[in-house]
């Protein structure tokens, strides 16, 4: 795993949320998904900054929805996870899984 693709916790959650909402979800959908599943309030400033960062890393991409004209001229972006995004989520899950497996015995004992 390269350092470029190292994911922070919030980045992981945002990527997972995009994936969970299926293709072409809006930023609002991502926020709602995060707030329902993780039961935490999400700062929009942090969310948009994270989306931009993920875009710069090539993990998500977006398109303007040309059919949506209901927002008084404000365009709506639809986010999609890229192949790289899916790959990096897989890698992250494997890494975490191997750690979880190793940690299993300690966690069992501590119970």
């Amino acid at each position: 795993m390269t350092s470029r693709s190292a994911l922070g916790e919030f980045e992981q959650l945002v990527l997972l949320a995009v994936l969970a909402k299926g293709n072409a979800c809006s930023a609002i959908d991502v926020a709602t998904e995060l707030e329902t599943r993780a039961s935490r309030s999400v700062s929009r400033g942090a969310l948009y900054a994270t989306l931009e960062r993920l875009e710069n890393k090539g993990l998500v991409e977006w398109q303007i929805d040309a059919t949506d004209v209901a927002r008084s001229g404000h365009p709506r972006r639809h986010f999609t996870i890229t192949a790289d995004g899916v790959r990096i989520l897989r890698e992250t899950r494997e890494t975490l899984n191997s750690f979880w497996t190793a940690a299993e015995s300690f966690l069992e004992e501590g119970r």
Binding site: S26, A27, I28, A31, S43, R44, G45, A46, Y48, A49, E52, I64, A70, R71, S72, G73, H74, P75, R76, R77
Partner: protein
């Protein structure tokens, strides 16, 4: 969609006006807000929206800053600065002109600002200075009363109103309240303020060293004490820390030094060197009578709003005094309270206003001229901008570059201007303090620097905004298509600038004409006495026990001087020439029906010694001077008085009645302009001073032509007999005339310089605009010349449009100058505020300069080579 809350909406609009990403974020937030209003209620949605907007905006700002820092690191900003520098250097001529023009404007503004700052903005250095008022005692009829008190009236006022501690009177007159200091090096004159017991209490200032003067010091016999100014202590006494308790010999008496004031204490005037108890004012300095009003009054009222009550109460007392002492006080029932600051500034307010007005006008010419130059230049750069935009240049970066250029120009102008102001401030402050009685020093003051920075940065940003705005919205095609014509409205703007420039130049030139003609008229004024080979020596005679000793000493000094070889005649007077100072006596004059009418000559009564008229070469209309041989007191009057009192009658048959005696009129002279050249001739009476012991003496000497070495010989002869006698001042009378015209000369010079600058700037502006219009229309001109238009016709067309603007500007300017003439009419002498020569001359000069300035570029239009231009197009 519903409206989002205002604070957040504004914040987002300000920070994120840009691209579709930013717009989509704004849209998302608005959509979510609408949902939250329904689910969470309006209040919680409002809070949520504003908080999120703040978070988003903050991230955006941080990102922008990060990017700018990145660019700075990568050298993009430096690249911009280098580019701006290259662009500026490419047109070094125009730009150095712009920098110079801005520098002149900034220097003028900085000087004017520091003057205004010192006169009007800086706090007076006295505690609760707002409670201090100058207190004047006035008579009902005379509007020119100086408002002084006699000590007796002041004492009565104080006692009747229980104002012992809040009202003070003092005597300070740089020409006559001088004391002679002996024992500290050579004898010298010291400017002395004689102050009463309440003075320092009213001013509320403590001594820096020792104590001030109080109640106990103003008692005859216990008043041999003196308080020193900080300047006097540090300069004359080498800041001796053990000075308290030592004695100074002033006017022959030993006075104990009891205190030194702080440097900020400069009341009544910065010249004041020592303060003495008023009880030391002796009869021979000023006669102590109720009718002799010579002391200034100052009062501290409980609050500024109670000044009116104090005035009413004082007028009540004055009315009672007028009843009790009708001889001296009849009609003297008016009181006036003027805030101290206003009184201090009053004398030179006109001068300051004049300077500010002239500076303001010049600044406007500067702005118009710089604006014209840069706009014309921006118009010629539209093609460059268009090309850079169409090959994908960043609009923000172009804007930044244009702004950078003009801020760079303005900063250079500002720095240069501040330097100029510092260089000029010495000369300017010397000039102003000598001629206006007001010093303007541009000290390295943070406020002056801040003010200058503000002026030049504002100029820079404003100048850069115009072209920057033009490229902000328009598509590149607008520039390419209109490259030769200039961007929207530019040409109309340029014409307005030409109009404004010529109008302002005409105003300033008309002012120059008025001031110059006024100055010439003043120089041409006949003072009424000879100025060549006449000298004025100023003495302060020691006060003896009785006046007789002083009379003998004075006569002896005159005799010594007249015995020196080369001295043709000697005369004397209590007062200097051209500075007023006549004593305000009231005489009885037999009226037409035989009863006695009281008159107080407007200029006053002058005490002069025999020989005065001959030495000065005063011209007698009729009669003769008085002599030592005249029986009893006699008087000489001036023509103004004779003509107003006895029109068509023989003045030599008249006499004055005073102190029970009759004083026959021996002669009538042409006016001596006693109150100054510009004051005109006011009624004056000259009395033989032989019987009036006055310690102030101005001795006038007429010498053989060119005999300058006579004056040192006179001094030596006097010192041989009176070694302690100081000669306070020796002046050539011709020099007095120079002094008298110094202020009008200064005004004429200042406005002359400003007027000349304005014409040059306006000519530059006109030149720039016309040549820009010629080069913008090259294509059109080329086609017309190719089609056979004669060069004459092309020339006429280009000239006529320019000249129309110039003509209109001049006309508007001259009309406005009529107003200016009225405003400065009090500064004018011998010239009408509507003087035809001044106005006509100004108009002609502006028209001529405008003509030449537009002729040169218009000639260029006729030399255009059509083939060359059309090929290029």
């Amino acid at each position: 969609m519903i409206q989002t809350p205002l604070p957040g909406r504004w914040l987002l609009a300000a920070i994120m006006p840009g691209d579709e990403v930013e717009q989509s974020i704004v849209g998302d937030l608005a959509e979510e807000y609408a949902v939250r209003v329904r689910t969470d209620g309006a209040r919680r949605a409002w809070t949520w929206y504003n908080r999120q907007a703040m978070g988003v905006a903050w991230r955006q700002v941080a990102k922008d800053m990060w990017r700018s820092a990145e660019e700075l690191r990568r050298g993009v900003v430096m690249q911009d600065v280098r580019f701006a520098w290259r662009a500026l250097r490419a047109h070094a001529g125009v730009h150095s002109m712009v920098v110079t023009v801005i520098a002149v404007g900034v220097a003028g503004t900085a000087l004017a600002f520091s003057m205004v700052d010192q006169a009007l903005l800086k706090a007076l250095p006295y505690p609760e200075a707002g409670e201090l008022f100058v207190f004047r005692h006035l008579s009902l009829e005379a509007s020119s009363d100086a408002g002084q008190f006699s000590p007796m009236d002041a004492q009565d006022l104080r006692e009747s109103l229980a104002w012992e501690r809040s009202l003070s009177t003092y005597w300070f007159d740089p020409t006559s309240s001088l004391a002679t200091l002996t024992g500290e090096g050579p004898p010298k004159g010291v400017a002395t303020a004689f102050v009463d017991q309440a003075f320092f209490g009213v001013m509320g200032t403590e001594a820096a060293l020792g104590r001030t003067l109080g109640e106990a010091d103003n008692v005859s016999g216990r008043d041999a004490v003196v308080v020193l100014s900080h300047d006097f202590w540090s300069q004359e006494l080498r800041a001796d820390p053990g000075i308290l308790g030592q004695s100074l010999r002033l006017d022959g008496g030993l006075l104990e030094v009891v205190g030194v004031m702080p440097p900020s204490f400069q009341f009544p005037a910065p010249e004041a060197q020592v303060w003495l108890p008023a009880s030391l004012v002796t009869e021979d300095m000023v006669p102590n009578r109720r009718g002799v009003r010579y002391r200034e009054g100052i009062i501290r009222v409980p609050s500024p709003s109670t000044a009116g009550e104090a005035r009413v109460a004082a007028e009540g007392v004055f009315a009672r005094l007028a009843e009790a002492y009708p001889d001296s006080n009849e009609g003297w029932t008016r009181a006036e309270l003027v805030p101290l600051r206003e009184a201090l500034v009053g004398g030179f307010r006109m001068g300051i206003l004049f300077l500010m007005g002239v500076t303001g006008l010049l600044l406007m010419v500067v702005a118009a001229s710089v604006g014209g130059l840069l706009t014309a230049r921006a118009a010629s750069r539209t093609r460059e901008m268009a090309i850079r935009l169409s090959i994908g240049a960043d609009r923000a970066r172009l804007t930044r570059q244009l702004l950078g250029e003009s801020v760079l120009l303005a900063s250079a102008g500002g720095i240069l201007g501040l330097g100029l102001a510092f260089l000029a401030s010495g000369a300017v402050s010397r000039f102003t303090s000598e001629t206006l009685g007001f010093a303007a020093s541009v000290t390295p003051d943070l406020r002056v620097a801040a003010f200058t920075a503000l002026v030049s940065l504002t100029t820079g940003v404003l100048l850069g905004l115009v072209p920057a705005w033009a490229i902000r919205k328009a598509p590149p095609s607008a520039f390419l298509g209109g490259a030769r014509q200039g961007v929207g409205g530019t040409r109309r703007g340029l014409r307005t600038l030409v109009l404004a420039e010529t109008a302002l130049a005409a105003i300033l030139l008309a002012g120059t004409g008025l001031m110059t003609r006024s100055f010439i008229a003043l120089v041409d004024t006949d003072p009424g006495f000879d100025t060549e080979d006449v000298w004025s020596l100023r003495f302060r005679l020691p006060v003896g026990d009785d006046g007789q000793q002083l009379l003998r000493d004075r006569q002896r000094l005159m005799d010594i001087a007249s015995d020196v070889p080369g001295v043709l005649s000697v005369g004397g007077s209590k007062t200097p020439l051209l500075e007023g100072g006549g004593e305000p006596y009231t005489f009885g004059v037999p009226g037409p029906s035989g009863d006695v009418v009281e008159i107080t000559p407007e200029s006053g009564t002058y005490l002069v010694l025999p020989g005065f008229f001959e030495t000065l070469g005063a011209r007698f209309v009729t009669g003769r001077p008085f002599t030592d041989d005249d029986p009893g007191l006699t008087v000489v009057v001036n023509q103004t008085l004779a003509e107003s009192l006895w029109p068509g009658e023989d003045p030599l048959t008249k006499h004055f009645v005073m102190a029970g005696g009759e004083w026959p009129v021996m002669g009538v002279i042409e006016s001596l302009h006693d109150d100054g050249l510009a004051a005109g001739s006011m009624a004056a009476v000259y009395v033989d001073a032989a019987r009036f012991p006055r310690s102030s003496l101005f001795m006038f000497l007429r010498t053989a032509p060119g005999a300058q070495d006579v004056i040192p010989a006179v001094q030596q002869a006097i010192w041989a007999e009176y070694p302690d006698q100081v000669i306070l001042e020796t002046k050539a009378v011709s020099g007095l005339i120079d002094e008298a015209v110094a202020r009008p000369r200064w005004l004429a010079r200042v406005i002359g310089v400003f007027g000349a600058l304005a014409v040059v700037l306006a000519a530059l502006g006109v030149y720039g605009v016309v040549s820009q219009s010629v080069s913008n229309r090259r294509g059109e001109i080329a086609v017309r010349i190719a089609l056979g238009a004669s060069p004459d016709r092309v020339l006429r067309e280009h000239l006529s449009s320019g000249l129309l603007m110039i003509g209109m500007g001049t006309a508007i300017g001259l009309l406005a100058a009529l107003g200016l003439g009225q405003a400065i009419s009090s500064l004018l002498f011998g010239v009408a505020p509507t003087d035809f020569v001044a106005f006509g001359g100004a108009g002609l000069v502006v028209l001529a300069c405008g003509f030449v300035a537009s002729l040169v570029p218009a000639m260029r239009a006729t030399r255009i080579d059509p083939v060359h231009i059309i090929r290029e197009e």
